[in-house]
Symmetry: C2
Subunit: 344 residues, 2 copies
């Protein structure tokens, strides 16, 4: 059998079953945003997350400024720590690259990583470097920590819980679509109105330099009211589906409740895209999605997290069923399934 | 400037200077076998080490059995933890691979990793998977721990200390040379005597399935007598040079004191190689090399570490100078410098 037949999630299932953690000190192994391990310090858990990025798959050297690439690589890992309610701590970066790669490119990537690290109070403590024929491969492993009792997993959502999301999902996908239209010659940014240009700048920045929601994740964990938490790397639908699977529940979303920003809606009009499709199916927003008691108030939550928080639906007892309803109550088909590696 | 002009160690220097750890909880960042971080548990340090392996550079699919590859990948990381005096704990494995790779190959790699992990009581807790056009990339990050006061660094060697090595360095390189001769058709293993075949099997296994010296590393740390410690991944000369640089000292080795095994010497005779060259310059032995007070006895150490320990030289105050003397006291040139990535 080939990897393409098994798919990414099939492979992860097999790995987890054959070699998954069973150690006495492993609180949560494969299957959440971070692994959670007893740190040895009473009441504190160690969080571990890792990403392996390949040129041509996760980024393109021609279209990605190396400093922003560095910022985004670390941001994605910081977002995984935020998605457990933790605080980042230390990380390693490994790089395999061709011999003829300009040193300046590599240094700019590390500069971007260093900027993001300083903003998040995380320290680069080590790594590995190797020559390779290419493509460039970059691996980051980030450690964080969280009071053990405050860690929020994907697995705790209960029927009747409300589903909340931070910020404005879909903006990153809109930024990517604008960049693609520009590079294909279908968008003349010089001809845009000042307002449209401001939208474009905002959405592009949301795609190229996303902000990990570390403060919000910690604040949510410290309040101990969220029952499940995940970050949005693959879109609301695909990431919520991970929560549903791990929690053995279902969900009903109201499409009209999705917090679509003005910039997103205006860009979608320009591009003839549906902003709800982008919010449900677009990746790399790095917002937080969580379930919590239905009595929680959006405004109180927004104040506590320092970010707009919107209630977008409810957890149901129909395990695995994710329904998105339009304002008339009709079911809306999900057009963009989450990305899965290895699938053709 | 290209990476090939700067070289691996030049690049690491630049990264360490621009983005290196300065966090209050980082005890030792870039520049040793593991990073050492305050774990939060009183008196216990967290160890972190990571490797990024690329098909065609670090391994070849055609000549490496995937189960042994998995065992060796984890063994190299376990050896880094041994080289700080620590015990392994938890690790992540990331894989980027082409869609048409057989699932069975991937599963065998993870099976080998799982075997080594079970032998070392380490747990696989997470990772990342991605499709890639190739070559295959595998990244491992291993966490370990050690009583903070017992951690042994590369930087503590003092003039007058004796230099010790475990086991029989050079055997892995001899195994590699035998495998290369066999695959080039220059070695007819079927025609070997039973004794020569036993040598071949032993040396090949030393290359393909090296044993990380975890027990010896922990025993050495617990005794608190070693002043500096490193594992042999690039040969006695190159790895000792790292200790000299970090400790700001020199060393004098006696070539005739190198513990050359009978199997190594016989294979070298067969292959017309110098076993001392292999011990000094051959990689991937994963033995331990350490400095300690000159009053320490080889036999007492061997008993304590559960491994043959041999005194091979002395630390001098001539910073950066590494002399290898032959029995007549003449200096022996170093023929095989350690491997450095990115160099042409």
């Amino acid at each position: 059998m080939r990897l393409s037949e098994l798919g990414e999630f099939g492979l992860i299932d097999r790995i987890a079953k054959s070699a998954g953690a069973t150690g006495a000190r492993v609180i949560c192994g494969i299957g959440d945003d971070c692994a959670v391990i007893e740190s040895g310090a009473a009441g504190t858990a160690l969080l571990v997350t890792t990403d392996l990025l390949i040129e041509g798959i996760h980024f393109r050297r021609e279209t990605t400024a190396p400093r922003l690439l560095g910022r985004k690589i670390l941001a994605a890992n910081l977002s995984d720590v935020a998605a457990m309610g933790g605080a980042p701590h230390a990380f390693t970066v490994s790089l395999a690259a061709p011999r003829d790669l300009p040193v300046e490119w590599v240094e700019a990537v590390y500069e971007g990583i260093g900027e993001r690290a300083a903003e998040a109070a995380a320290c680069l403590v080590g790594g590995d470097t190797a020559a390779s024929p290419g493509p460039i491969a970059i691996s980051v492993t980030l450690l964080g920590e969280c009071p053990t009792e405050e860690v929020i997993y994907r697995r705790g959502a209960r029927p009747g819980d409300a589903i909340f999301v931070t910020g404005s999902p879909g903006e990153s996908a809109a930024g990517l679509a604008l960049l693609a239209a520009e590079s294909a010659g279908n968008l003349d940014t010089a001809a845009l109105s000042p307002e449209a240009r401001a939208d474009f700048d905002h959405l592009r920045s949301r795609h190229l330099d996303p902000e990990p929601r570390l403060h919000a994740g910690r604040a949510l964990a410290a309040r101990r009211r969220a029952t499940a938490l995940i970050d949005l790397s693959d879109g609301v639908a695909a990431d919520l589906a991970h929560v549903l699977t791990r929690s053995d529940v279902g969900a009903r979303l109201q499409a009209e409740r999705l917090p679509l920003s003005g910039a997103l809606c205006r860009a979608c009009e320009h591009l003839a895209l549906d902003p709800i499709d982008l919010a449900l199916g677009g990746g790399e927003d790095y917002e937080l999605l969580f379930s919590a008691g239905a009595d929680l108030d959006e405004k109180v939550l927004s104040h506590a997290l320092g970010l707009a928080v919107t209630r977008i639906g409810v957890i149901t007892d129909r395990a695995g069923e994710l329904l998105v309803l339009d304002p008339s109550g009709r079911e809306r088909p999900l057009r963009q399934p989450g990305f899965e590696h290895f699938r053709p």
